[in-house]
Structure formats: C-alpha cells, structure tokens
Symmetry: none
Subunit: 214 residues, 4 copies
DNA sequence: GATGAATGAGGCTTCATTCAT
DNA sequence: GATGAATGAAGCCTCATTCAT
C-alpha cells in the first residue's frame, strides 16, 4: 500500500519512518496522531509522507504490516513450530517466554501490535488487516488441533471456542506485561524476568487444569 | 460532574441526551465524536450541551457513569449476590446468562461500557472511572476468595493472578457476543440464545477444569 | 436609557446592579465583560438584565451616566465653584485634593470614569457620552476664561489650546494615582496622602510657571 | 516571536500581513479583531496566519514590535539626537514637527502605536512591550537631565515628575492630531500643516513658561 | 523526488440574547 | 416582572492534504 517512492527508500530510512509512525500512534492514538510530528521525528518533510503514502490511514495500515513482518523476521528463527508430538502447553510456555523477550527488545513495536490486535484501532481495520488477524487465528486453531490429536488437549469442546478462550486467557496477562514494560524505562531487571516467568507458568497451569478446587 | 442544569432536566430528556452521547461515541470514538451531532440527535441546541457539561470530556465521563448506573438500576435486581456456600462456577454461569440478556436489551449501552472497560478510551480515564474499575476488580477478587474458602477454587495460585485470568478468559467471549449483537439488528432469535448459552457453558467448564486432555 | 423596569427598582438594587457592572467592565473590559457574571454578582437573574437594559451596550452606557451622577451627588457639595476673583491655580490645587479623596472613597468608580474619559472605551461612545465629555470640556474652558479675565492665566494663547494642555498635563498624574490606588488595597496611608499632595503641588507649579530654567 | 515561516516571507508579504493586522486592530480592537479578516485583507489563508504566529496574541504583539521598528527605520535618520548644549525646548519643537510628518505619512501605524502606548491594550502588554515602554521613558528622562545640566530646564523639581508631566502635556495634543488625521482621508493640506505647527509652538511655549498670567 | 509553506474545512467552545415558565 | 435554561451565531485554532519550488 505504500507508493513506490517509499519502497525505493533505503531500508534504514523506511525503518525510521515506520518507527516514528508507530511511536506517534502509540503515544497519541490515530486521530490525535500528528503527521507533522511523525515526519519531524523521522527526519523527512511532511510532504514526503504523502509521497510515500496515500493518506494517514494508509500510513497507519502499512505500519501494522511492517511491524508484524519485522517481528516475524526478527523472531521467527526463535520460534519452534508446533509438531505432531509436542505437548501444547509445553509449547505455549516456551512461546510465551520468547514473546516476553521480544517485548523486552521491541517495546514500542510490541505495544503497537498488541493494541492493534486488542482492537484499539478497530475502526481502521481493512481487508489486509483482517487477513492478518485471520492468519493469527488459524495459527492458534492449528495448534489446538494438534493438541487434540495427540491428546494433550481435550476433544469434547469445539476448536473455535477453545481458540477464543486461549486468546482471551492470554490477553490480560500480556496486557499486564505491556503496561509494566511501558512504565519501566529501557531496562528489564532480572527479578522482573523471574516475575514474568512465574506469571506465565501460572497462566499455563490454569489453561491446562483450570481453576477448579481439588 | 454535569452541571445542575442537566440534573434538573426531566429524566426523559437526560436519557435522550445520554443515549445520543453513547451512540455517537460508539460510532465514532471520542476524538471524532461530534458534539453537534449529539445535540442534534438529542434534539437540543449545541450550546445546550455546554450548559449541561463543562466540555466534551466531562460529557463523555458522565455518560460512562450514567450508563453504569442505568445498568445497575435495571439489572441489579436480577443479580444474585455471591454467598459463602455457593459454587463459584455455578454463580458465574448464572451471572453470564443475565449479562447476555442485558446485552440483548441494551445493546448500545452494553457495547459502550464494554469498550470503556476494555480500555478503548484509556486516555480519558479519570479518578472516578478508575474508582469504578477498582470496584469491579474488587468484586471479582471477592468472588474468588469465597471460592477458595469453600473449596470450589484452587488455593495454590495467587488471587490476583486468578482474577486477571478470569477477566481475560471471559473477555473474548463477551466481545464475541457484543460483535454478534452489533451485526444483528434489533432482534435476538431463540437459536441465538441457545448458541450463547452453549458458549457460556463451555467457557465455564474450561475455567473450571482447564483445556488439558483427559 | 434603561427601561422602566430598572428605574422602578429600589435604589439599593439599582446601585448593586450598577456597581457589579462597573466592576466587571473594570476587570475585563467591554468585550470580555460578562453579562452573566454581572448578574450573578448583582444578585439578579441574567434575564433580568435584559429587562432592565436593551443590551450590553446600553447597560455600559448607563453605567457611565450613573457613575458620573453618583460622583456629582456625592462630591458636588465639596466642590468650590470657580468665581471671578479666584486664582485659577489655587482653585486647581484645591480641586485636585478633593479629587484625590474621592478616588480614595470610590476607587472602582473613579477608575471606571477615568478609563471612560481616557478613551479606553472609545468605540462605545454615543451621543450622551459625547455630551458629557463636552460638558466637562466646557467646564475647563470656563475656568480658563475666568483666569484670563482676572489675569491669573496668560491671554496670548488660545483657550482651546490651553484647555487641551491642562487636560493632558493633569492626565498622566491622575493615571498614576489611579494605578497606585488600584495596586493598594483598601487603605490609604497618611504618607501616601502626603506623597499625592506633593505631586499635585509640583504639577500645579509646572502648569503655572512651566519647566523652563531660570 | 513570529515563527520562522513568517520571517522567511518576502518583506513585501510580511508588510502586507502586518499592515492588515494593524488596520484590523485599529478598527476593531483586540477582542473584536478578526483573524479571518486580517488574513483576507492580507491576501493569505486564515490557516497561514497560524503558521506565522502562535496565536492572535502573538500576532498582535509582533505587530507592535514591527510597527515600532518600521517607524525607527523610516524616520530615525530625521531624528536629531539630543546633545549637551542644545536647548531642550528647541529640540522638542523640531522633534514634534518630525513626528507630525510621520503621522502624515503613516497614519494607521501612528495611530496604532499611539494606542498601544496610551494603554488601550493594557491587558496585552508583555515583557517585550514593557521593555520598549521603559526605553521610551528613559529617553525622556535623559532629555530632561541634559536640560537640567545646561540650565534650560529648572532643577528644583524631580526628574520623574517632570518626565511624567511632559508625557502628559504632549499626549493630548498628539491625540488631537491623531483624531484629525483619522477623520481626514489621505491628504494633508497645507493649511493643516500650518495649524499643526502653531499648535506645537503653543505647546512648547506652555511647557517652557507655563500658563500663568504675566 | 523532496521540501515545507499554503490551504481551508471542521470542531470545540463562548456568550449575548431570547424564550418559556 | 423575574428567572434561568435554550439558542445558535461567531471565532479561534488544528491539521490532513495539496501545491509550488
């Protein structure tokens, strides 16, 4: 969706523009997000933004795409893909720890993407974003189906329901971590890592066995 | 926080203004929400809004308060308060069914309140709103503690973690119901009720026993 | 220019309204002067102001008239009228001391009237105000002519020029006293009276003999 | 205090904006002065004004600065600086004649600056304006001190008092000339020049020798 | 292609005046 | 006549987008 002018920029410049965009929208939301400020902090002219993107909306939308792809490029190697034999909860645990580290390294970006998926910008979603959300949903569904096949996940409940449930159960915890990450400045302390890890463990345990007594 | 001018209006008029407000913010969010349109659809002059409220922000904030209180007034009688002996999950189930009906009857309002608590307007929270959120949090914590005392909830996990988890696990489902309610027009069909009920049951089951195999 | 409704009010009420008016315009000027605030501080309803006066402008204009008349009523007995034999400068001196005391007793009013004559509200002057200004001008002219007749004022310069000159020469000093009166709270100290008196004496001396050397 | 955007404009454009500003404020005062009208009569878009100045107040304040500087640039060469030997009254006379011509050539500007110094916009004064007023005061004090040294001004009266007196005595006359200049259209007739000159002469004479008889 | 000034629609807010009780 | 709520015109200011260089 960006114009060719943008794609012809050096990757460094592109990144600078994108990060400026993401920071601005994180700080002020979409409506109050200011194109002039984005341009300034990216070190380009305001007019240039309009040579790169049709309008504010397109800029935003592409920032989402760009952010997601960066995440994948940067962290995909660390992601173990699910396979037929693995215990799904074991997998989630490992995955979450990875995500935690990612958030550590890419705070702003992580917050941005989270907000997008949490629906903060729900008025802005378009076809491409819906596609991405669909993908991420399929990923979870796939995961659960593997779990059901190898018996690590119960089969008496519909996959879709399980998927939604998982997303939700994970959501608040992530949000919590986001907020803490935000309040904190740059550095993550070891004790915090431990804290996070404990939270994640508890969450996985709950996902697996529920919170019922006995 | 409204001025006396507003409180002196007939309840009918007050309601008309509030519903117009809520509809507008639901439709366009806070920044794009248009005072002129609110006034028009409430059938008052734009200037009148400013005799009722200091500014847009106060209008919004009061709409939240008003919405919550209406919800309570309207549905509180149906809400069973938790008591020492009750099974927490049983309680959640009953509660959710009630909530479901509420959403059916007060679609716009329900969506509005949800959005507020889901953080869509997070820049706007003020002392009074934080207080309400705190209240709702305490409510859940209280619930869980009762459960832990009477053995219906496991005690080896921290109350706060359980509380966050519960909120999250419930959240996506609610959202889902919201969206469906939204897309649908006015009428809820019987089959939908059934569908909702099944979803709720599944969610409670998962909350209780987890999604682990066996 | 006020409507009969105003003139039928008790003098006390009338005074309250007028003083509130004068205070407001002193504080905020005409444009920013707020009818609602005037009403509030006069203890009447905003609508009542419009039953007393046609509009803001008329209210202002009448406040000027009222203020002037009050001044006259209150201080006229103290004012020695000029007579054929008196030394004009002696007369001015006595007059100024009186004015000084008046300012002490009717600070707000004095400031208001001064501002009017100093042209702060020059866009608002109407026929009646021009008439008053003309009167006050004639008063000075008359004074000077007496002086010229009895020899206390030089006759080689045009009366109009002398009149303007006198007004001007007096003006800055008055302004000065006004400002000091304003900054000070309620009380005038004896030393201040002395200070004022010295200033006045110096001014009269300059008026009389000029500031030329020798 | 204007933004760079303004300073980068061609001097012609700057002048056009400034004159439009000054005219508008002369005509309607600050509160009623209309940014849209200023823009229109300067031939720029309303929004542009806000790219030049932070807000209405800054626009006004800069117009004062600009006006003063233009006056200096334009007329400074004609101004004889006071020196130790000169008769102060002679000096004032020459100066006033110059001022008179200036008013002839820059009517609107002259009126504007006069109004500023006469306190018509007293709510708006800021640090920079106070500084200018202080300067102009110092100028007069300096003048008088020279006079006292070389004997052309009496020494038995305080410099500050003399300074205030001079300002005042001059003021009304200037105002008078202003008003006449205003009422008249563009052209100054020769007879008027003569009239002015006579007035000035009379004023100087009064300043010097006073209006006392004999 | 880059730049940054120019544009003007749009929105919040104020408040003199009118109106209904 | 008094009251104070209702009205809506008007104005400052923001800022996405366009334009000229």
């Amino acid at each position: 969706m960006p114009k060719d002018t943008f794609l012809n920029l050096s990757p460094d410049k592109q990144e600078k523009v994108m990060r400026a965009t993401i920071n601005e929208f994180n700080k002020n939301g979409f409506e109050k997000g200011n194109i002039g400020d984005i341009a300034k902090s990216a070190g380009v002219a305001k007019g240039s933004i309009y040579q790169y993107f049709e309008n504010k909306r397109e800029l935003f939308l592409y920032a989402v795409k760009w952010g997601l792809e960066l995440m994948l490029k940067k962290f995909a190697p660390n992601i173990t893909l699910p396979n037929e034999e693995m215990d799904i909860f074991e997998f989630l645990y490992e995955n979450s720890k990875t995500a935690m580290k990612q958030i550590g390294e890419e705070r702003e970006l992580g917050i941005f993407i989270q907000n997008v998926f949490l629906g903060k910008y729900s008025n802005l979603t378009d076809a491409s974003m819906e596609y991405m959300i669909k993908l991420s949903n399929e990923y979870i569904v796939n995961l659960i189906q593997i779990g059901q096949k190898n018996g690590s996940v119960r089969s008496d409940i519909d996959v879709q329901v399980l998927s939604i449930y998982t997303l939700g159960a994970t959501y608040k915890l992530k949000e919590n971590m986001m907020n803490r990450a935000r309040e904190r400045g740059e550095d993550i302390l070891d004790e915090e890592y431990e804290q996070y890890e404990n939270d994640i463990k508890a969450m996985i345990e709950l996902l697996k066995h529920g919170m019922g007594g006995r």
